[in-house]
Structures are given as C-alpha cells and as structure tokens.
Symmetry: C2
Subunit: 279 residues, 2 copies
C-alpha cells in the first residue's frame, strides 16, 4: 500500500524528523518501496523531488533526509506498487498551476471507472490519481475564474472531493502552498504540535527528538500521515469520509459524517488489498 | 549573467560531464551563482531540481553531479542575479503542462515592458521569463486545441518567439520532452557528438572524458550552452535571431537570418550588462 505524509505549519519548518521515519516505510508489511516523491512549498515557489527508486536507497531521499528545507506546506508519497511498472510520470505528488499558484496532490487509493473529460488540465501519466487532480482543478477553474476566498474554496473542494470519492478509495492530500486539504476514505491520522512541546519517538527507527530544542513558543505544526509516525504522542484519527483543511498548523474547516466510523489499521489494510490500490 | 545548458539525444544519456563544468560557472567573470535549476525528462515524466543556493555549494547540485539520471532532454540554468532577491518561484527552468505533456523553459535575457494578458497559464513568480513561457503556451493552446504535427509546431513556436524577441534579449531553451527548441539573441553554442567519438576536456575544470568509453556507435547527443563547455571540440555558434530545433540529437528545423551576425563573447557580455539582465 502507498502511504501519504503531509505537513502544514504557521512558520517554515523542516520535515526531516518525520521524513526520516516515513521514508523507511514502503508498505505496512514490508520495507521496500517503488518510488517516492516529496514537494516543498517555499514562499510561492515549489520544490518537487521525485524518484522511481526505493526511498530507503534513493540518493534523492538521502538528500531530502540531510538537507533541512524549511517549508509551511509539504506533501510526500511513497509507493508500494501492486501492479505495473513504476515510471516517473506516474510518481506522486503531481503538480499543476491554477490562479498563479502551484498545486500539489498525492493520493492513496483506487478509483474505478473514473475517466472524466478534461478541459484545461490533461494527465501526463496514466494513474487514476493524476486524473483526479486534473478533474478537481478543471472544476475549480470553471467555477472560479479568479481565486475565491478561503471559506468558499474549502466548500468547493469538499464538494468536488465528495463527487470523486463515489468512484472508490480516495485518501488524499492537496495543497496550494497556503492551506492543506485532506480527505480520508480509510486511514489518515494527524497531530498538531504546539506549546508545550515534548519529546517524540519514531515508530520506524530508534530516533527521538525533543521539540523544545528546535522550536519557538509560537510554532504550530500539523503533521498528517497514513499511520502515526511516532509512538509516544496522541495522533488523532480521521473518520471515513472526513474532509479536513489545515491552515497555519490547525484545522480551519472540517466536514465529518454525523456518525463517524474509524477503521482499525487491519481493516484499512484489508480494504486497500481488496481494491488492489494501483497508486 | 545567467547561463543556459541544454541536451537533446537519440538515447537516454546522463549529463554529468557537461553539468560538472557548467555548475562551476555563475557568470563569465566570477564563479558565484545565485541559484540554479535543472530539469530532466524521463519518458513522459519530468524531474526538476531547483535550488536558490549557489550551485557550487548546493547539496542539490551535488546530488545531480553524482546521480547519473539518463534523459533524452535536459534543460539547466544558473543565475547570477544582477538585482533583486533570489526566490524559488523565480528560479528557472519553469514547468507547465500542455496537451498532456510537460514543458520546460529557461531564459537568459531581459524583456522590456512585456506584460501580456494571460488566459490559461498564470505566472507564479515575477520574472519576465516566466511571463514569456506562459504567453508562449497560451498562444499555442489557443491555436491548437490538440497537439499539431512536428513541423507545424516548430513553425508556430518560431512565430511566437519572433513576437517575444521584439521586447528584448531572448536567449532561451524550451522542450516538451521530445524536441528541444532554442532561440538566440546574443550567445548560444551547440555541439553534436556522434561517431567517431573523441575526447573532450572541460573549460571550467581539469576533467577529460573519452566518449568512446561511455557511448555506443548509434548514440547522438546535442549539447547547447551559452558558451562552449569544452576547449578541444568544435562548438558551432548560433547567429543572432536564429531559431533552431533539435530532435534525436540533431537540428531538424532552423530559421536563420539571411545575413547571420555572430557576436563575440565580449560583445555578448556587453549587451547583457547594458540591458541589466534580471533573469
């Protein structure tokens, strides 16, 4: 299964600690990956590192682990291909420009018979994921020739996401460098780190960090991941069909079913296996 | 002054040798740079490395120098900022998608009062260069809802380039991953390496390569650069206002003034200084 990682902060922050653990994963059952990608917003600019080599051995992942790029919004994706060849054009995250902003998108799931018509944005590769991004941006663009206010944008994206999820499993993270939009079909967790800061210990490696040493009192950082990255902090689980938007390190918009359902890790994995995620 | 580097081949080739010398440059008079970028097409995919640190010290440039990414089309740009802050959103090359293909563009020059209206593509940063790319793709898209044949595309791009160059100095390299389009206002050189292969010695470093050791008899590689990268090969100079298109390592389309003018390095530099290139 693929895994997603996102970060949204109120001050530019490096993601090295989280990526250290995340990049060691490739699936939930083994430690091999079939390519990975990570994109960093820096001001209005964006830096996207992609590699079709396993992240544990990739020189690109090694660079990211050692080069403290500070960013307010980051999206990463590691791939455990269940079928097909790993090619660069199918490697997440995918990037496009809308309203003079870069948009970055990564998906974990599988959309069945999702073949919409495109107007402004055409997929370059052949994944359902890139089609989802193109469809989403196409629709936004048709609705809003100019960028709308934040609240309107959140509602509009929520509505499009609700359309897309009718086609199948749609765990996703999307960002325009300002807000970070998430949708959960099966598994997605988040944590908000802010004062008082404590220690955190990675699940995937024997590494502990004391956030008191690397933060200032006003820092607030939200980290979103398919499964918790640390084992001594309280990660919050997103419900099935929950849509949540982060800005400056906190949730600013949320659409959750009235009777939320939370899957166990095993249930989430079982669904991923049954739909044969081709992310 | 900024410098451009491009490569177009008939077989995926790594650019490590050329980039080794190129990344040591930052201007013609000193060896400091203010950021750099390099984009590699791999199949339909693209990998774009950007850094706003000097390429001689950048960990990203170090990665590119040591990681043999094989590509049929590469565009790189190093920046010697004459004014203003170096921000990531203003770092070349710039990338967009058109007709389901990625397009990559780098520019060396200065366009005066070039502020067109945009329809499909909006600049993210504030350079004349990114505006030129957006204008160019906007026009192509309006003329051709679907991708035209190669010859038609070459003529269409030539016509748009001839419009843009009316606004000032416009040395540029553009690629859709298939062909590599170039335009010269002042300085641009190229070399086609093919059988029989020989040795090449970098201008900027004491490094020599024997291409016989790293090629097969059918390989053909065109390298394009602001100034020659090696000092024992015959680089061809492009004329002022020459438009040339490379495909599979050779020129397939060319539009050259009837009385071509070739600038010396000193004349090219003097023009760059006088227009205050803000690339």
């Amino acid at each position: 299964m693929c895994q997603l990682l996102g970060m949204n902060c109120n001050t530019p922050t490096d993601i090295i600690f989280s990526f250290e653990g995340f990049s060691k994963r490739g699936g939930l059952t083994d430690h091999h990956t079939d390519g990975f990608g990570i994109g960093f917003f820096e001001g209005r600019g964006m830096r996207l590192f992609l590699d079709n080599h396993p992240s544990a051995q990739s020189p690109v992942a090694e660079l990211v682990r050692n080069y403290p790029i500070k960013s307010e919004n980051v999206i990463a994706h590691i791939r455990k291909a269940s079928q097909g060849k790993t090619t660069l054009e199918n490697t997440h995250p995918f990037q496009r420009e809308l309203w003079g902003e870069y948009w970055l998108f990564a998906h974990n799931g599988h959309l069945l018979n999702f073949s919409p018509e495109f107007e402004y944005y055409q997929p370059v590769g052949c994944t359902d994921s890139e089609r989802a991004l193109c469809y989403l941006l196409d629709k936004l663009r048709r609705q809003f020739p100019q960028k709308p206010d934040r609240q309107t944008l959140c509602v509009a994206i929520k509505n499009i996401v609700q359309e897309i999820r009718e086609f199948g499993m749609f765990n996703m993270i999307l960002s325009n460098g300002e807000m970070l939009f998430t949708h959960t079909s099966t598994l997605l967790y988040y944590i908000v780190r802010q004062m008082p800061f404590g220690q955190a210990r990675l699940v995937d490696e024997d590494i502990t960090i004391d956030f008191n040493q690397v933060t200032t009192p006003n820092d607030r950082v939200a980290v979103i991941a398919t499964l918790p990255l640390t084992n001594n902090e309280s990660w919050q689980q997103m419900a099935q069909n929950e849509f949540a938007v982060f800005h400056h390190g906190m949730i600013v918009y949320r659409d959750c079913p009235p009777s939320p359902v939370y899957l166990t890790k095993e249930e989430g994995l079982a669904i991923a296996r049954s739909v044969g995620t081709a992310c």
